[in-house]
């Protein structure tokens, strides 16, 4: 990247298929032995220095246009690499740092508090085995989802009391939908 004018540091964060943060990387100063070679505005080849003969380490990338633009300068792009589809949030690093500080100031709420159990695959609720107010053990079966013809049992990740059951048998659910609130 020698001789190139560079902008401010950038934080890139990937999002998994369930919409959760997955990994992040701050691209700031410093050299990398990886080189990106653009072929057109969407296609690139990422690999070690050209003509080094290490052709088998090359990755062919497709970087799609912006899919979503969030408030506060956050942009989401789709990257295809080695067969994977990666949604990447891109943000100037200084802004990302500000955002993180703001978040740390807010009430944490994850330890000991209620646990929202969400659908990790789209499908249909076949059977509900608990109701609001039930006490459940860790590993106890909560409900059964049919997805793509397979019946999938959902079990409680920890013991607790069922605060709310947000779905009924027969309901269709989408990825990320709230199913059960465990208190």
């Amino acid at each position: 990247m020698a001789g190139m004018r560079e902008g401010p540091a950038v934080r890139a964060r990937s999002i998994d298929a369930a919409g959760r943060p997955e990994a992040e990387l701050v691209v700031g100063g410093g050299a990398s032995d990886e080189q990106i070679s653009w072929r057109d505005p969407e296609h690139a080849i990422l690999g070690p220095e050209a003509a080094s003969g290490a052709a088998n380490r090359l990755s062919r990338l497709v970087v799609g246009i912006v899919r979503r633009r969030m408030s506060d300068g956050l942009m989401v792009r789709e990257v295809l690499i080695d067969g994977w589809r990666v949604e990447v949030e891109l943000e100037a690093e200084d802004r990302a740092a500000l955002r993180d500080r703001a978040r740390r100031g807010a009430p944490a709420g994850s330890t000991g508090g209620p646990l929202a159990i969400r659908a990790e695959l789209p499908g249909r609720i076949v059977r509900l085995l608990v109701a609001g107010g039930d006490q459940v053990d860790a590993g106890q079966q909560l409900l059964v989802i049919e997805a793509m013809k397979m019946l999938n049992e959902l079990r409680a990740p920890r013991a607790g009391r069922v605060g709310r059951v947000a779905v009924a048998a027969g309901d269709g659910v989408d990825l990320g939908d709230l199913l059960v609130l465990l208190e």
Partner: protein, 510 residues
């Protein structure tokens, strides 16, 4: 001819119809109103709402559609009604031609227990297990089945008598889980196939999955035209298939072909079917079941033999004898020439146990060029409904030998770009680069033993983050061997600038 299916197999059958000058009728549920198989057909008929039980599994709606359009024959594809003998019989009694084995043969082969008994009767080794239905809900029979299980030994498999595609199947590691597995498998089988009967089989492990492609004519003559290795599976569903099966001796090949022909002949099989076997470490074959229909992976046999199996099916269904080309292929089947590999591209997340996904596929650009065949059921921009199978395309490669076919597969996967929804492509990448795969060390445990999806994704994610991070930082992303002076087109120079312009903003993130 009416095609009672959807997705890639409906498109593939419609193509064969058009090649033979046969008018094609597609059927569709509301979820598939604009699906690719509907666009491909000459006539399209709605058969019901999205749930398969009310559309693609409705024999009445499908036969009514055939009669309304004047279709004379029905091709069931695979899945859905393909192996329901009652459907085949209903088609036959409606005066239509069922493109597949006749209903008697489907009944004989479709009940896995009956098929096991038949195989034993013609001296084909069957996987040890029970030969009668195991009681799933009847408490009286539980003691007997537990005793049978103990004598087989654990772990063992509970399987649906009407099963297929891994549905209604459970692995039972120990005796105390037998009862629950029987109930769960039976329930799943009832939902999927309308038949809750299950049985027990010893687990043969490690094993390879080998299957033999069969063709049969009305007079009772059955031939084997080659075998496939389909060992690489997840959830007992195939991910990668190849033909011929690597590493077999000609003797082994001919033996397993002969076993398959014996069973199919005894069952009175006609048209096209496949006999499935396990191959254990000692080199012995164990009969599993017969699928009395076209398989998903029939295309690799087509590449190796030069036959078109749907053409052959249509000729056989019209009452013709086995074609000269098919007989010639059977002659060569012991010493096949060339090699073909198929990978199944499904909407699934290989980093999360191949969880099925659905949604709108964006970019959809698969490989082309020498030795490539693509059978796809969708096009770029199509929405894939959650209601049906997650398979969207089959990518096949063909070359003079297995190493070249693997090289070609790597090249083809390199070219393939699918956006919008995650697919199984990363796993296929891994297989194509795997030394174990190249060495032919295949087993049904391949995925469990070799695939670390989260780790593979982590590597790709870190490269993706680095790449877009580098590009976003630099106003002039590096252009490989090109000098910075060559370009006069600013939009072309920076993909970020180009994208920003397209979106009507000046620059990001500066």
């Amino acid at each position: 001819m009416l095609v009672a299916n959807r997705g890639e197999i409906a498109v593939r059958i419609i193509r064969a119809c058009h090649e033979l000058g046969i008018e094609s009728v597609a059927v569709y549920s509301d979820a598939d109103r604009h699906a690719r198989h509907v666009r491909a057909a000459d006539v399209a008929v709605r058969i019901g709402p999205a749930p398969a039980g009310e559309s693609y599994l409705s024999a009445e709606a499908i036969i009514a559609a055939a009669q309304a359009t004047g279709a004379e024959a029905i091709h069931p594809g695979y899945g859905f009604l393909a192996e329901r003998a009652t459907f085949a019989a209903a088609v036959e009694s409606a005066g239509l031609v069922f493109v597949g084995p006749d209903s008697t043969a489907i009944a004989a082969m479709g009940d896995k227990l009956a098929a096991r008994r038949l195989a034993r009767s013609v001296d084909v080794p069957v996987v040890p297990g029970t030969l009668e239905p195991a009681p799933a809900s009847d408490p009286a029979g539980v003691a007997a089945i537990t005793a049978a299980a103990e004598s087989l030994g654990f772990p063992l498999m509970v399987k649906a008598a009407a099963g297929g595609g891994g549905r209604g199947m459970r692995r039972v590691p120990a005796a105390d889980e037998l009862r629950g597995a029987l109930v769960a498998a039976s329930e799943e089988a009832l939902a999927a196939f309308g038949d809750g009967a299950v049985y027990l089989e010893r687990e043969i492990r490690p094993a390879r999955h080998i299957e033999v492609q069969l063709l049969g004519e009305a007079g009772g003559r059955v031939i084997a035209i080659g075998e496939r290795d389909c060992s690489i599976q997840r959830r007992h569903q195939k991910l990668v298939e190849e033909s011929p099966a690597p590493g077999l001796t000609t003797r082994q090949r001919l033996d397993v072909h002969a076993m398959a022909v014996r069973i199919a002949t005894a069952a009175g099989l006609t048209n096209a079917a496949t006999a499935e076997f396990l191959l254990d470490e000692a080199g012995a074959f164990w009969f599993l079941e017969v699928n009395s229909r076209l398989q998903v992976e029939h295309g690799i046999t087509e590449l190796v033999t030069g036959l078109d199996l749907v053409h052959e099916q249509l000729w056989l269904a019209s009452g013709a004898r086995l074609s000269a080309a098919a007989l010639a292929a059977a002659e060569r089947a012991g010493q096949p020439v060339g090699h073909a590999i198929e990978v199944r591209i499904s909407l699934e997340d290989p980093a999360r146990s191949f969880l099925p996904l659905s949604g709108r596929v964006g970019r959809f650009s698969l490989a082309a060029g020498p030795g490539i065949r693509v059978d796809a059921g969708i096009e770029a921009g199509d929405r894939v409904p959650a209601e049906y199978d997650s398979l969207v395309a089959k990518l096949m490669v063909h070359a003079a030998d297995r190493p070249t076919a693997i090289d070609r597969l790597r090249r083809a996967l390199d070219e393939s770009e699918i956006g919008g929804v995650q697919t199984t492509l990363p796993f296929h990448w891994f297989v194509a680069a795997s030394p174990d795969f190249r060495a032919g060390r295949l087993s049904t445990d391949f995925v469990d033993e070799h695939w670390d999806g989260p780790a593979a994704r982590a590597t790709a994610v870190s490269r993706a983050l680095l790449a877009v991070g580098l590009a976003a930082r630099s106003e002039n992303p590096s252009r490989g061997a090109e000098g910075p002076s060559r370009s006069t087109d600013a939009a072309a120079e920076s993909p970020w600038l180009a994208a920003a312009r397209a979106e009507g903003v000046d620059r990001w993130p500066g």
